[in-house]
């Protein structure tokens, strides 16, 4: 379980996150929705140690993440699929996926996990020798997700997986997120595509300029008048 309390983050004089509290229980899909610049990505970056917090606490399965080195967090079972994919463009698809398993001490399952990723994303199997930089945005998203799966996580943070993708690909990506959820993986999903995000999530938080303004069951938020006006274009 991931538990965030009173988290504040600032870049110099700019406060990006202003005292938010949220939690993600084991096995849940929780969505964090909000406009551009609301602090969604900053929140995820702080969880995995890419950005330091100013105050507050982040505890993951009893471990204080604010005191854990960024490169050790993946070993606790938390993977992060960053916004903009961040695949290694000059490595092949397969090398990218193997980098996902970098943190594993026991490498006996790597081949089996690769097969699993290739069953999820058959297109990656066809392109496994191709440099990741030559792939389309959707394929790069698959690489980034596959890379996260390779670290055998119990929790995955996903940052804007639908960004820049065609509606068909968005559906495919969300189908995989649901599949991972069925396997028991906990998901914290950051999305601007609020409709998709709320439709697969158990619970959701609405973030506005660094503060959580609403929270609740995703199905309730999906039908909430204010949410519909602000984020669902209805």
């Amino acid at each position: 379980m991931l538990d965030i309390k009173n988290l504040s983050v600032s870049y110099g004089a700019i406060d990006a996150v202003k005292g938010i509290s949220l939690h993600v229980d084991d096995g849940e899909i929780v969505s964090l929705i909000g406009a551009n610049g609301a602090g969604k990505t900053t929140t995820l970056h702080t969880i995995t140690g890419l950005v330091p917090a100013r105050s507050g606490s982040i505890v993951f399965n009893g471990q204080d993440l604010l005191k854990t080195k960024a490169n050790k967090i993946v070993t606790l079972g938390m993977a992060h699929v960053p916004e903009g994919r961040h695949v290694f463009t000059r490595m092949s698809v397969q090398e990218n996926l193997e980098m996902g398993a970098y943190s594993l001490k026991d490498t006996s399952h790597v081949a089996e996990d690769l097969d699993k990723v290739y069953t999820y994303f058959p297109r990656l199997k066809e392109r496994r020798r191709q440099l990741a930089g030559t792939l389309s945005g959707g394929e790069q998203q698959m690489v980034a997700m596959g890379r996260a799966i390779m670290s055998r996580p119990n929790t995955i943070l996903m940052d804007e997986p639908s960004m820049g993708l065609s509606p068909k690909l968005v559906k495919e990506i969300f189908r995989i997120i649901e599949k991972l959820h069925e396997e028991g993986i906990t998901v914290l999903l950051v999305e601007q595509n609020a409709k998709m995000a709320l439709s697969i999530a158990d619970r959701a938080y609405v973030l506005e300029t660094g503060r959580i303004t609403m929270e609740g069951k995703a199905s309730d938020l999906l039908h909430d008048e204010k949410v519909r006006k602000a984020y669902l274009g209805a």
């Binding site: 995995t48 490169n71 993946v74 960053p82 961040h86 000059r90 090398e95 980098m99 970098y102 890379r147």
Partner: protein, 307 residues
């Protein structure tokens, strides 16, 4: 000696010095690749390596060890100096300053190493004891001396080894990952600072091996010996495409060949108008021409804007 034999022996000369440039360029390019810093002190690591050879050969000989084993302390000393320079000078500057402060720090480190060794060893040339004595290889009229054979063989072995290391090993892959995307590397669980330190250690260690190859042919050391070697290697790295390991190798060998062939033939070709004294100028002119045609170097990939 016939013209053809003369030409072949010039090719071997070019490959010999080109191997030295290639190994130094390899260190340059690895460090640039991982932290985007032109480490102007890199040439001076050759000098540190050469002084270590000079001091450790007699010491090892006293213990009954062959002279070439001095490459071991030389590599260790260079790797250590490289890591110290990174940790004490570059890392703090990288975290607080910008790329210009880092570049100036690198120039400062170069001056510090040169003047530091001048204070310790004096400014004059010192002789390095004989490192290897391999007989000259004679094929018909063609004579290739032992130093040339040692340099080319060692150069090729090191280049192949480095390529395999970076492509195949876990640490090598981590280096490539860090050089491309530090945030994503952290998310994979890679110790980014440790990987940068390791890159410095390896790059600087390669300079020690280059020092051995150089001293086999030119057995003397001076505090400023690394300046021109470092500059040529830098040209080689840029020519090949900075950041690219195969590029550094190709660039190094190309610079060596260009230099050796211009020295041998430019006078004859131009009827004495341009003499071999211009060979360095020609090397730099070729660099400029190549960069005009291919700004990212022979084997470098064009910089793509990251989204």
């Amino acid at each position: 000696m016939s013209g053809f034999v003369m030409f072949i022996s010039q090719i071997f000369n070019g490959l010999k010095i080109g191997s030295v440039y290639a190994l130094v360029a390899l260190g340059y390019t690895m460090v640039y690749g991982i932290i985007r810093l032109l480490n102007f002190a890199h040439g001076d690591f050759i000098m540190i390596g050469a002084y270590t050879l000079m001091l450790s050969i007699p010491a090892l000989a006293a213990m009954g060890m062959p002279a070439w084993t001095a490459v071991i302390p030389a590599t260790l000393v260079c790797a250590l100096v490289g890591v110290l320079v990174e940790r004490l000078a570059y890392k703090p500057v990288r975290e607080k300053g910008n790329s210009m402060t880092a570049l100036i720090t690198a120039i400062a480190m170069s001056l510090l190493l040169e003047n530091g060794s001048q204070a310790i060893f004096g400014a004059d040339y010192k002789t390095v004891p004989t490192i290897v004595s391999i007989p000259t290889l004679t094929i018909g009229q063609l004579k290739i001396d032992g130093a040339t054979i040692v340099s080319i063989v060692l150069g090729v072995v090191m280049m192949v080894a480095m390529q395999l290391y970076v492509k195949r090993t876990k640490q090598g892959k981590a280096m490539r990952a860090v050089s491309e995307d530090k945030e994503a590397s952290l998310l994979m669980g890679i110790n980014v600072n440790g990987t940068i330190t390791l890159t410095f250690a390896i790059g600087s260690g390669l300079a020690a091996i280059a020092a051995l190859m150089y001293c086999v042919s030119y057995p003397q050391v001076s505090p400023t010996m690394g300046m021109m070697l470092g500059l040529k290697a830098f040209v080689a790295a840029v020519l090949g495409g900075i950041g690219s390991i195969p590029g550094a190798m190709v660039g190094g060998l190309a610079i060596g060949l260009i230099e050796s062939l211009t020295k041998a033939y430019i006078g004859t070709i131009t009827g004495g108008v341009i003499t071999s004294a211009f060979s360095d100028a020609i090397v730099f002119a070729i660099l400029i021409i190549v960069l005009l045609v291919r700004p990212s170097g022979l084997m470098g990939e064009p910089e793509t804007e990251k989204v």
